[in-house]
Point group: C2
Chain length 553, copies 2
């Protein structure tokens, strides 16, 4: 043994620090139950300047009571917080930076706040650590971003801190575990605290992992992010959905899949019981799903297309419907759904045949991003769902169908389909020479341009013009030509040499609608299994209860 | 709305089926507590032929009592089970197939049973679904392999089914959740059932997720898989470890990392407090770890090298040591460690700079496998840890250091280092013309050769001859030449043109030990911070309690 015996070291500094903070706040709590009225005071005692703080901001569920309280702490006492948030969704999330409480942000997704993040970044009011994917952000909580404090939301808790997150479990377990097992402080806001543990429908997170529960002044905010009103589905969406079903799903025998948000994919969901049924595809494709409980999936479920759906999160209004379909959804013994974003992301990454999604911009090589000038959106789960995991994977018929060589070490591919109209509303081309993201990255001094999905991961590009089977490209040049051939009259599309089209069609590198038996004239709204939210409610037998903003009756 | 209203359908067939089975076994249980003496009878009532059954089989922890019971069920009553097992470790796991109870196997890793699996496969006694990675296997439990029954192991449970898995949490939460929330039956064997819930150290899995607990006849078996006796570390391991520290860790400023099992990586761990310290690298490299609590990491921890360690599982004998180092390890409020293989795999995949591991065979392109003729091992977590996740990732200095172009969309790479001696013991070359795995795959009719790590994911190959910086290769030919240059006198190495060596050294494509300041003569065992298990115990202040087979005193 070497003689340089180390100096005595204290090995429980985190534990002591936590105990010190909790002792300071002990007069504000009864067991783990914090006094709601004095939450700001409590946070001032439980947080220290420079802390790494996870604030749940998810895609749907928001720990909004805690966010509003955190904004009110005295920035002279608590400042330079390093916020770690899956989703930056509420104004309060950025008010923290304006008020000088927080200074650094690591996040995965920003919807409504994307303009303001971009502005704060330019003004130097906020420093961005990195734009993560969801599972990457969770992963870092266990490596180099272990949090000091984690603030989450649940429906109910008992007085021992046992937490019921119900259908909206989402990111909560992955966030809580990182602090609960490394002497961080876990605070959960809940809509209700029950006296008797038996009054909890079930325990989603054990009380031993939660330090404090606090009753919020009103139920946590939840965003119905995945509800698409069928009335807004246009014929072009239907055309593209028909092409997806024939030219991708049927062709490759896609069994398991993830759909992103969007009217294109909503159209696919609504065509399965009509167009898909007529093609005799029921039971042959689209059986196992990883996605939120999209209301537009109801007709396919009711028609017997869907074996299973595992969900990232809940969807507002779908609670009773999912609970009544336990063969399909993941439901607890208490009868309510359980979601889990970390596991569903894993499932979408490693267990499915196909991801299909959309984007705001794509370049001629298929690189895409939703970051455009002035909008720093982040990408949430898209980069993970929308990439072909390298390394080893189990084969499925669809995955194997993309093998292009007879090399004994050849691998298949996960199908990564980008489904884009060539132009956005307002006549902005979707397919562009260079992504805005490249400029944004440079201007913001990012070491890495904020690309969402890299072109080399994209196997299919589907536009209203046709499908480019990019996985068949033998060279970068051919790849470009294939994409250009379906890029319409965008700058990239105009570069296309029409003489090549016939050759590429003949070789199966691209397909126009007629090549896959899709008639443009058939693409009408009459094909939709439901044409309105009201019809979705009908399909569900009244179990789907859409939020007010989606009701027209 | 379409007129083809679906026929009435029952939506809770799984729930009814579960209730029926549980009613049939109700006389064998007191609440969730199953009668240990009648476990075989209970399994015969709770399982049905053709069920998908998860049997925990992990890397370390084994639900061995349940495995022994399952082997005893009457194959006329229960047969054709489809077993899903992270790790096939015990003879009983394969006896199931010999006895005709099970017929299909999906798994991720097989250590001691790899020869027998191979034999059973050839004899048609067993059908393999696929060789998965761990997280891929968990993922499929939520998509197309949802289990009917899940059998796991824990230390303690109370009479409400609350489960304490303690330091050996491993795969359990990911396995249980898939059944608990889809009307599967969850059975946990435990070493002890406590009457008062307060006597559980903590709850790792809530009782509402567990249907049955049963006291095992003896404590569950746990394999000390990650203990490497420093006495078996040879000078060549030390040489290679020095090269790794200088030529990879120092060069790329590796902060966060995963080490595989092996004497090479154990040597690295034991050189940090000596060789690493003299190089002034403490605090600059190797701060955040994702790995099991390797005893050989104790000297580095005690010397202050290590900020954090998140663990896949526990390591036998390390319980008291990890509990006494809560600043470093993930420890619950009760004072014992929590591991979590799913989260640690994610962390190792997305949050670390580097994976370094070894293999039994590697071909001239860097493809590798531990499957050789007659041995179907599976690969556990290696293919996930040992690949560069595509899609978006946060940048770190090490990751960015591997960018090779000034393309604005250029990405860095996770460092995937293969550290192999050119020959195995017994003079079998490690670096070969063609992997045995290719033949094995063909002979077994697998759609995919059982490759562990694909060459295109490998950034560095490190042998006793030198380091090939494969990420710098501009072509496949150059890649081959670089690998051949460090392949010694293997068939691949002999193909190497020595005239190229000087050029490749000058260009920094390869490095010999002297190029990175490593003197072969310095590579002696005197550099090891601990030279025996006894010295590891000393470093730990007596907290490490090695299993008997590692004690020589």
């Amino acid at each position: 043994m070497e003689s340089n015996t180390p100096a005595p070291r204290q090995w429980d500094t985190r534990r002591r620090d936590k105990a010190r903070r909790m002792a300071a706040a002990s007069h504000l709590a009864d067991g783990p139950v914090l006094d709601s009225e004095r939450i700001v005071e409590a946070l001032q005692l439980l947080l220290a300047s420079g802390d790494r703080v996870v604030l749940e901001g998810n895609n749907q569920k928001q720990a909004d009571f805690l966010a509003r309280a955190l904004v009110q702490v005295d920035p002279d006492r608590v400042n330079h917080l390093h916020m770690i948030m899956p989703s930056v969704s509420l104004p309060e999330h950025l008010d923290l930076f304006e008020r000088g409480v927080a200074s650094k942000l690591d996040f995965a997704y920003a919807g409504a706040q994307s303009l303001r993040i971009s502005q704060f970044l330019q003004e130097g009011q906020l420093q961005v650590g990195a734009l993560h994917t969801y599972i990457e952000l969770y992963a870092r909580l266990y490596v180099d971003l272990t949090p000091n404090v984690v603030m989450v939301a649940g429906y109910k808790a008992d007085r021992q801190g046992n937490l019921y997150t119900g259908p909206s479990t989402e990111d909560t377990p992955a966030l809580v575990e990182a602090a609960a097992f490394r002497d961080g402080i876990v605070i959960a806001q809940v809509n209700e605290i029950v006296d008797d543990p038996k009054d909890l429908p079930r325990v989603d997170i054990p009380g031993a992992w939660i330090d404090y529960v606090v009753r919020s002044d009103k139920p946590f905010y939840i965003e119905p992010l995945f509800t698409r009103d069928p009335r807004l589905i246009k014929p072009v969406h239907i055309l593209m959905a028909m092409m997806a079903i024939r030219g991708v799903y049927e062709r490759h025998q896609v069994q398991s899949l993830n759909h992103g948000i969007g009217f294109n994919t909503a159209a696919i969901e609504l065509l399965l019981p009509t167009y898909g049924e007529r093609l005799g595809l029921k039971g042959k494709i689209c059986r196992n799903w990883t996605l939120n409980p999209h209301p537009t999936l109801i007709p396919a479920i009711e028609s017997g297309w869907v074996d299973s759906v595992h969900c990232f999160g809940a969807e507002l209004g779908m609670e009773r419907y999912t609970a009544a379909r336990p063969d399909v959804f993941f439901i607890g013994r208490d009868g309510s759904m359980r979601s889990n974003r970390a596991l569903c992301q894993l499932a979408g990454q490693y267990a499915v045949d196909l991801f299909i999604g959309s984007t705001l911009q794509m370049d001629g090589l298929g690189n895409s991003s939703t970051v455009t000038h002035g909008r720093l959106t982040g990408f949430g789960g898209a980069p993970n769902m929308g990439h072909d995991p390298h390394g080893r994977r189990h084969p499925t018929p669809a995955w194997l169908d993309l093998v292009q060589t007879d090399d004994p070490l050849a691998r298949g591919k996960k199908l990564v389909v980008q489904m884009v109209e060539t132009f956005q509303d307002g006549s902005q081309p979707t397919i562009v020479e260079s992504l805005d993201a490249v400029d944004v990255g440079k201007a913001s001094g990012m070491p890495l341009a904020p690309v969402m999905i890299y072109g080399d991961d994209v196997t299919h590009v589907l536009t209203e013009e046709g499908i480019a089977y990019l996985y068949k490209a033998q060279s970068l040049e051919e790849r470009k030509a294939m994409l250009a051939a379906v890029a319409g009259v965008t700058p990239i599309g105009l570069r296309h040499d029409p003489a090549q089209t016939a050759r590429m069609r003949a070789q199966g590198l691209i397909a126009l609608p007629e090549d896959i038996g899709v008639r443009r004239a058939d693409a009408t709204r009459s094909l939709l299994a439901a044409k309105s939210i009201a019809e979705l409610v009908d399909w569900s037998g009244g179990l789907y209860e859409p939020p007010a903003k989606f009701r027209s009756w």
